[in-house]
């Protein structure tokens, strides 16, 4: 069983778990894979910018995120489930974002 089959099997597992009725076509599988790779690679590249804060911290965090991302593959179906159209999840994320922004502005500016 090569890696592609493993990933496909995992996607199928997650899809049955989330009870999605969509058939798993070539197009949807490849776009899920592409989204997965885009997500992980752009996240890792963005984390490299932590070098401006501290080089050692950057290496540790990039490696840690890489390992975590690999073990939790595939992330995309779960991420999609999080960002659904249900109002309750939307308002939840909005309130969380409000909290994070206010906290960060207070904490970030008083300490930097």
């Amino acid at each position: 069983m090569n890696i592609y089959d493993v990933v496909l099997k995992r996607i199928r597992e997650i899809q049955t778990k989330t009870e999605e009725q969509e058939p798993l076509t070539n197009i949807s599988a490849s776009s899920t894979l592409a989204a997965e790779i885009t997500l992980i690679s752009s996240l890792l590249i963005a984390l490299v910018m932590l070098r401006l804060v501290n080089t050692v911290l950057m290496i540790v965090i990039v490696l840690a995120v890489f390992v975590v991302a690999l073990t939790f593959m595939p992330i995309m179906p779960r991420l999609k489930r999080e960002q659904n159209d249900s109002f309750n999840s939307m308002i939840f994320f909005v309130i969380v974002a409000l909290g994070i922004i206010i906290t960060l502005f207070y904490w970030g500016n008083l300490n930097v």
Partner: protein, 124 residues
């Protein structure tokens, strides 16, 4: 202990906003959510009005018998009152539109439960 009017208003404004955010986030009834939104708007309006408050200040109407110096020292700050009027009008129109949409949704779904009406209904 009697606290200062301005401080009390500020506390009221803050608690109105927090209660409003709680109501929008955690109550299921759509009308209650809208009441929560009205609370947030009112809290902010109260905060704006409080900014213009001046202990012992006079209405900002300049009469011929006043000197400019005396008027500048005693008049309360007029700008927030002008702003809050506009803000109340906007808030009222937003509420009206929201309640109108809720009426339509109630006719369609037969319920005003947010998790049923505004849930993720499978379509994309």
């Amino acid at each position: 202990m009697i606290i200062d009017t301005q401080l009390a208003s500020l506390f009221t404004a803050a608690s109105l906003i927090i209660i409003g955010i709680f109501a929008v986030g955690f109550l299921d009834n759509l009308i209650k959510k809208v009441i929560g939104l009205a609370f947030i708007g009112d809290g902010v309006n109260l905060f704006l009005v409080t900014l213009g408050y001046k202990p012992g200040g006079i209405v900002y109407i300049y009469l011929p018998s006043m000197t400019v110096e005396w008027f500048a020292q005693n008049a309360s700050y007029p700008l927030p009152f002008a702003l809050v009027l506009t803000s109340i009008v906007i808030g009222a129109s937003t509420l009206a539109v929201m309640l109108g949409i809720i009426i339509v949704l109630y006719k369609k779904h037969g319920t005003i439960s947010a998790s049923k009406v505004l849930g993720d209904n499978g379509e994309e």
